[in-house]
Amino acid sequence: MDRIPILKMGRALLVTIQVDMHDRLALALEEDLTTRIVATKARGVLIDISSLEIVDSFIGRMLDNIASVARVLDADTVVVGMRPAVAITLVELGLELNGIKTALNVERGMELIRARLDDMEAVDGGDDED
């Protein structure tokens, strides 16, 4: 089965989704990512979905789940490059992904993660896991 590659950049993990997400792929990604976060002691996860054209409620929930799992493991998730159509779909589905940080492109997303790595104490407000 296909797997989505997870790249390690320092203390951050980089995931670029370049194929159509189907349910099993999403489940596999969640599992792989969880293992990798623990193995690499990553403190940030950057998911680039700029090539993702179609989302459904399941994929939306998976993104949310991945972020939640990452947060439990003390890593920040930043989703970057979401397309307008995808954003509208998620909002209409009622999935506002409130726990996830977002950025316009990979560059800005990395800045967010770097800022967090530089100041480990400054975690996004509202969650008290740290």
Binding site: V80, R83, A87, I88, L90, E96, A103, L104
Partner: protein
């Protein structure tokens, strides 16, 4: 109503056409219908055409306006009503155009006398009522068409996204937000965010007349979608009355709000690490500095 009455009426109309026309025009000018939007000559021609079509209609269709004999009259009236709706005549003025024909016709019929005169007057009056109703229907339909067209034009004009600074977009909303417009606004804004690589979008609602729970929900949807794209939204231009209404309705906008577009812009510049400084007299003209 027997056909002899219709035949009598039609010959009466033909006989006294000029007199009826003059009396009708008098009635119209008395009723204040003629208010300078149409020349007297034009009105006279219109009335004459209608009167002759009316006589034809009565001759062939009797005294029932729904018969095929009255198609000519109805077409003519439709045209007149449509033109008047576009020219800005009021509904009353348009209706009066037909109804003021009653008195001249009634007086002619009474003058001609006969045993059934009272009945004839009533029949003609009902006939004109039917035609008046037809005029009103066409008039209203024309006005509705005008309104729909204007709505479309407003929708096209009212969703511009402007760039205030590098990475700062503004969306001045004008008019009421409904689902259809929110969709257009959202798509426009999100595409502009991608195109301009904007970090901050300011949604200015100075031109939104009312904010109820539904409008607020639409605004929040737009804000949430922009956030998913990685851009922050600031809402500005909430007028005092609207702020009060929102609080009374229990509408919560969990977004940064600023009173004016200027304040929102200032905050946007601050967040992107810029400040606005006053030009020092004699110095080089610089209004903004990269932080």
């Amino acid at each position: 109503m027997s056909s002899t009455d219709a035949a009598g009426l039609s010959s009466l109309l033909r006989q006294h056409e000029d007199a009826i026309l003059t009396e009708w025009l008098d009635q119209l000018s008395q009723g204040g219908v003629q208010s300078g939007r149409m020349s007297e000559q034009e009105l006279r021609t219109q009335c004459r055409a209608l009167l002759s079509a009316f006589a034809d209609g009565v001759a062939s269709g009797g005294l029932d306006a729904t018969r095929s004999g009255f198609y000519g009259v109805r077409d003519l009236l439709s045209d007149i009503a449509r033109t008047r709706a576009l020219q800005g005549y009021s509904a009353g003025e348009t209706a009066l155009f037909v109804f003021s024909l009653k008195r001249p016709l009634a007086s002619r019929i009474t003058q001609a006398g006969g045993p059934g005169a009272a009945e004839d007057v009533l029949a003609v009056s009902m006939l004109l009522d039917q035609l008046g109703l037809h005029v009103m229907e066409v008039y209203q339909k024309s006005r509705e068409e005008v309104i729909i067209r204007q709505q479309q034009e407003i929708a096209e004009l009212s969703t511009p996204v402007v760039q205030l600074w590098t990475g700062v977009l503004a969306l001045p909303l004008i008019g009421t937000l409904d689902s259809a417009r929110t969709q257009v606004v959202m798509e426009n804004l999100l595409q502009s965010i991608v195109d301009a690589e904007a970090e901050i979008a300011i949604i200015d609602i100075t031109g939104v007349p009312t904010v109820d729970t539904l409008v607020a929900q639409h605004l929040l949807k737009t804000v949430a979608a922009a956030r998913l794209m990685g851009a922050d939204c600031i809402i500005s231009g909430i007028r005092p009355q609207i702020a009060q209404t929102m609080v009374h309705l229990g509408v919560e906008l969990n977004v940064v709000t600023k009173a004016t577009l200027a304040d929102a812009f200032k905050l946007a510049l601050q967040r992107t690490g810029r400040t606005v400084t006053k030009v020092v007299a004699g110095g080089p003209a610089r209004t903004s500095q990269q932080g």
